[in-house]
Symmetry: C4
Subunit: 203 residues, 4 copies
């Protein structure tokens, strides 16, 4: 995939996430892995509803910009952390939804989703009769330190699902390519919204 | 109706269902009966918001693809089951909404909708002063077995409404043609959303 | 205003109401008074999201079609009832929203809206520091009988607001022209949604 | 910035706010400061979803129209009050959302938002580990008197955030330019919606 194609796919994903209400203000960031040491990622501080390919830039596997002067998303290192750990990750999406924000603020260290047909969008999910425990990390403006906490969990739980939530902040989801990542994000946000609704009823 | 016209109508219905939020990820499937032994149906795993006529294929009344290599929706046999039972069914819609997912997870074997003006979208509904008991089936990845359970209910309850819900999964609705099926789906989802809202209040 | 201009304005209003989620299935109907004895109104059973001027027809003040063969909305007589009673009414909107449906099902004979800035969209509303009691009528498929009940209330309460709700069915709102009617409908639906939300909290 | 560019930016902001559901009926108003004594602002009573640059006019710093006959938004003086007090304010947005309306009706003199990542959209917000106390003023149709109450609070609390809510009415937010103001509004409305949702759960 060329950088140009990746930039277009990222911009389209941004506009879709905006239409879904998952990237308020300048929230959210999106990337595609182009090669072992090259990632296309959203520039810092752009509104996702107005994105074009010009709002996408290239960084290396350590998150350093390929072009002088360009500034990538504040959370670029979290994208790099996912690509470094998971060879099969080809695209990463990060968004802030009502459901992932509110649920993570009241959750402990994970959110359990069980019995939904859309769990089939997660690995091993050939059935709905399963559960996914989505890890929840405390929010931290020190991104390298946050990535360390995430790596520590992955070291301990190699079967962790391809996604996690940062408390009061947002969700990260990834897949083999942009289509797979978006499918997973839509499935996850739908289940989180159902989970939120069920919490209303039982309260 | 030609296959081409059916494929266009199916794609338009998919985009409408996506705009309504009823087909997250690659959820949902849609079909039109073209002839006694020919059904146009969505291909497996496509996003409904991006659908074009190229995402539609033909199967026979038993669900076998007309073209080698094409793979139809995982739940094709449920569409076939509806067409086999109901001579008047010309189009079938399946979607996953917040309301049908959450309500079916907490329901018993049916969901009762009563007193809504939009019940007129169901057979015999020349008045709002009636009720529809929408059957709820347990989810099952074994589609032939699920269809057996559905057939068993239809054998016992010949007056069952033209729709049912699979628990934690989604709704099936049908009508004489695509317009009739979509009208019924919109009426049903609206009443389910009202029913969900009333459950919030009374809790 | 010509019939052609009215038909275009009605179609645009229908598409707006569909985008707001207020006309599920083929719900809702819309009219504009063209002259003392001529009303442009939506044809029966059309989807409002797909409306064009071709989905609009002319009836006389008693609701009789001007053209043989055309069938106007089932509730045409309720539009006629409004125009007959209120000389200043130039356009009428009827829609089914989640809020007006759920609130009217649990209401008595009226819904009180108080203290909202948007009450200024109602007559006498130069301030928010007021209240509107929106009449709620029991639903009835016998439209002339329903209109009699509405007329009886108007006889008793000449200061009734330019709108009412039919229980479990939908809202009617009118104004001097289509812009005024739509402004009032949007204001009313917004306040009803707030009222519904406040009912959730206090439960 | 020319008046023409400001009018286009204001119209685009109006259409965005309409798409978000924040300007029902003819609610909301929007302005950009063009010079020390010149403000571009929405005309009175226009629907924001249909806005074009023709719905924007110029007023001076005291709110007087530059052109005879034109009438600016009823709340023009609140915009002027913001520009007079804050030299860094370049654009002001006012909208009515479900969340800001319902929360302000049940609030005391402020709404506290704490722990959200999107608090970074407010001054001093290099971290989520902070709180913003959004002032809430009682609604008043006497706009100069309302502005006096606002000025009194600003005199007492020079660190007040760049936004406030009028009870049962709507929110005001501002920023250095339209992009900054819209980013702040989107962040604020998202947090208010989360806050509203959390109130549902705890009730």
């Amino acid at each position: 995939m060329t950088f140009e194609d990746a930039a277009s796919a990222i911009a389209a994903a941004g506009r879709r996430m905006d239409a879904m209400g998952w990237v308020p203000a300048t929230a959210g960031n999106i990337s595609i892995r182009l090669a072992q040491d090259e990632i296309a990622i959203t520039c810092s501080g752009r509104h996702k509803g107005l994105m074009t390919a010009a709002d996408v830039m290239a960084v290396d596997a350590a998150g350093a910009p390929r072009e002088a002067g360009a500034r990538s998303s504040y959370e670029t290192l979290l994208h790099c952390g996912i690509y470094r750990r998971f060879a099969g990750a080809g695209a990463v999406l990060h968004g802030h939804s009502l459901a992932n924000t509110v649920l993570s603020r009241r959750a402990g260290t994970s959110i359990r989703l069980a019995g939904y047909e859309l769990l089939k969008a997660f690995p091993g999910g050939s059935t709905h009769d399963t559960a996914v425990d989505l890890p929840v990390f405390d929010n931290d403006q020190d991104i390298p330190r946050l990535q360390q906490a995430i790596d520590a969990l992955w070291d301990d739980a190699p079967g962790a699902p391809p996604g996690y939530v940062i408390r009061g902040h947002g969700v990260y989801v990834w897949g083999a390519d942009m289509n797979a990542a978006m499918t997973r994000l839509e499935a996850l946000e739908f289940m989180l919204l159902c989970h939120l609704e069920e919490g209303r009823h039982s309260s």
